[in-house]
Subunit: 490 residues, 2 copies
């Protein structure tokens, strides 16, 4: 195997680039990555770029001949890097802040070189077994009992779709073969609070259940699903001949990070025989903190739980962990084995755990992150993010121009400014406030709606974020609100 | 933004690892990747490892304190790398051979550091616009006309699920809201040949159509869907009150890489008003060769086409490109916009193109690959893979102990050995032959079944594969078949 053939007779090169080009290119990339992350806080979070501008600066057609890697990397530095939104910027406080941390970046680079497709155990023994081990590490980290089997998907959207697919199969095994249409199957209903993520709607849509079968259960004043409303909704559906399929309870909703009453919901699901899926995509990792674990009480009775290491466990996107209690049931729901993928080992093959055949080696980066920080390092960092958010919340609470509109169980603060203007103008003014702050550059916030009221959010999740960055955001908010209030004469 | 706070008062470190550790770690990774790919051909393709062995060698629990990156990388080199199946090995000839090429690895490392989630244009302007541009480059590369809009998914399983979801919405827009059950919607039928990929079954299952609604149309002697059988199946379904939804035609089936008669199928779909999805996940890139483009004639009339750069376009997994003709229809099918993701720019937001919200920056690696090799470099490499496969096929054809069982339109050869044994033992002997060859170590082949007969495959797709590696496989096959024939007295 040591002496490969020379290139074919016509002299054209048909291999990969020469190894020395890969090596020098990777070293340049190593420095570029380190330089980028060392200075990312100095640029704007969101680039000042109009839609279509980059498109116009890129050639309309691919080059005829291969180009030098250095030239490509020059263009990367000139055109691409300055025109992304910098998710690793310490001032990124929008949506859910995330971090592609150093150990995770190393892991992702190595995974790209291995290029393992771990669809079967055989096609990536270390990838499959490391995934099993690392998922169990996360299980222990967040204090879930034995009996939960984890595997990694791309996103929480996929994890929830896969989990609800398993729920559908557990409830109505005939659907796998016969489908939902034809009149035998009643509408299958999924319950989630009015604060639950849109991935629940998308999963219901994808699975053929229909958006109308997602029952949005009212939440209480702290944006937690009302258990009494859930019970009533279930009763109404049963009376109407519809079939309750699953409850998606959220631990850490997207708008306010509220936590549904998991214990009560688990009681109801147990009593009614309904699949319980817990969406802990964002907040799940916070269960590693003893002082916050009580908030998750009840999730240990779930049938499935999704938790995204690419959200608050410092792992580069994508990495979504799905725990299920009944691994064999998951396989029954999803496994289809064609002849060209038959294998003889009595092992779990990742391709049987969902609809996707191909599987990246995602556990490598997560393994490196968990080892690089350790359990106590993860705890310290998540605790610090919660502390920062609570610090920010205290500034909001103490300032007469601002009001907080939701509790802060984790690392997200929801708030509004008070404007001396009529109620019907308040939403528009909040939006303008958000825009003014974001246009400035050093921070990036996003908004949401709570009970029809536009609300600003500050979400701490990047490891580079320090109190100074929150202070920058706060100063911009105060100053911008002052100017807006002047304008409206408030 | 230049002077971040010191760590919190208790002295615990709560940031990312120090930048100098990232830098030195990345440089070590750079060398490791180059060394690995320089020597990958010297190891076995599939490691000699028993299920569960790695699991036992990994600590049962995560470490309490963070560990040094060098120690983690030592363990990577000792435990992980030797225990993966080496997809970048020149002797990897199983399934579909793939390559994570040098430019693609660089791109993936950079994407991990940027850690962009391009769910919205705003959250990654360069990522969204580069994706649009690069998908159009691929469109031009393979000679598809204007009017196809490309975007990138993780796998072909996802692309096909998303495409068939769009087909469902185009046919029955009410399903989005009402779902399939309740008796109003007749069974919706998907047609695919008996050679089509299992992802079609999985998509039909996921979408609630049911496996039974996948009509497996018989193929001809060269494993191509029979257009007359397709027409008849459609007529039978219509007569029975079922509703034809989509035809999935394959350009490059998984077992033999046969190409369905796309032109005829497109005619039928046009006449019948049925969505045409073309699965060109593997073979699509070969349409860049003028001498093979005729094989794809008709795909320009498809409603959707999937083509995987992570298969035969030298891009690290995962990267699956879905082209659709009706971009607005795709959005109508899949878009659900919650308040916390509302955006104001009049742009296409990737989250509206499927069920997944989060989107990695996958176009970066593909851009670097297309620039690194150029159109002619891609053509040369794909042409060489086809040449190698045809060379191997000629050895099979010329040897009395072997028989080829399918044409070789691209880079995959299907063949069997002739054993002097009764027909009922032939399949078992082919399996034993495959196992003997794979156990040896330097090459890795996989098998399939064609008309109930177990068949061996040699699939060329890695850029390191040279004629010498095929010769190694061939010598092992000949010698192993000889020994097996001795054993059975043939």
């Amino acid at each position: 195997m040591k002496a490969p053939d020379p290139p074919p007779d016509d002299g054209r090169e048909t291999g990969d680039l020469p190894n020395e080009r890969l090596r020098s290119g990777m070293h340049r990339v190593a420095d570029r990555i380190a330089d980028y992350l060392d200075s990312v806080g100095e640029s704007r979070v969101v680039p000042r770029v109009e839609p279509g501008a980059l498109l116009e600066s890129l050639p309309e057609s691919p080059p005829r001949e291969g180009e030098d890697l250095d030239r490509i990397l020059d263009d990367y530095e000139r055109l691409i890097e300055p025109n992304v939104t910098h998710w690793n910027h310490p001032g990124f406080l929008a949506y859910f802040g995330i971090t592609g941390s150093a150990p995770g970046i190393l892991g992702e680079a190595l995974a790209a070189a291995l290029n393992v497709n771990a669809m079967l155990w055989r096609t990536g023994p270390a990838a499959v077994e490391l995934e099993e081990r690392v998922c169990d590490w996360v299980r222990q980290l967040v204090g879930l009992p034995l009996g939960f089997h984890g595997h990694i998907n791309d996103t929480a959207s996929t994890s929830t779709l896969v989990a609800l697919g398993a729920a559908r199969d557990a409830r109505r095994p005939e659907v796998r073969r016969l489908g939902l249409s034809g009149g035998e199957i009643p509408p299958l209903v999924v319950y989630a609070s009015d604060q639950a993520h849109s991935s629940v709607d998308k999963a219901a849509m994808a699975l053929g259940l229909g958006l109308q079968q997602v029952r949005r259960v009212a939440s209480d004043g702290a944006f937690r699903m009302r258990a009494d409303e859930l019970e009533e909704a279930i009763a109404v559906d049963r009376a109407a001949g519809r079939e309750p399929l699953a409850v998606v309870a959220t631990a850490g909703t997207t708008s306010t990070t509220s936590v549904d009453p998991l214990h009560e919901i688990a009681e109801i699901c147990g009593r009614e025989g309904i699949w319980l899926h817990v969406d802990a995509a964002y907040a799940g990792p916070a269960a590693c903190l003893p002082e916050r674990r009580e908030m998750f009480r009840g999730w240990e009775r779930a049938d499935s739980i999704v938790l995204n290491p690419h959200k608050w466990l410092f792992t580069p996107i994508d990495c979504s962990l799905l725990f299920v209690r009944d691994l064999e049931g998951l396989k029954r729901a999803w496994s289809v084995i064609p002849a060209y993928l038959a294998s003889e080992e009595s092992v779990t093959n990742p391709m049987d755990l969902g609809f996707q055949l191909g599987r990246r080696f995602r556990s490598l980066k997560l393994w490196m992150v968990l080892r690089g920080f350790g359990v106590s390092g993860v705890q310290d960092r998540i605790r610090e993010h919660c502390r920062l958010a609570n610090e920010f919340a205290s500034w909001v609470d103490e300032h007469p121009t601002f009001e907080r509109v939701a509790p802060v169980p984790f690392s997200v603060v929801c708030f509004r400014a008070r404007f001396g203007a009529p109620e019907e103008r308040q939403n528009e003014l909040q939006r303008r406030l958000l825009e003014m702050v974001n246009v400035a550059g050093p921070v990036f916030l996003s908004g949401t709606e709570l009970n029809g009221r536009f609300t600003l959010r500050v979400a701490v999740g990047n490891l580079r974020t320090r109190e100074a960055h929150l202070r920058t955001a706060w100063d911009l908010l105060v100053e911008s609100a002052r100017r807006l209030n002047e304008e409206v004469g408030g």
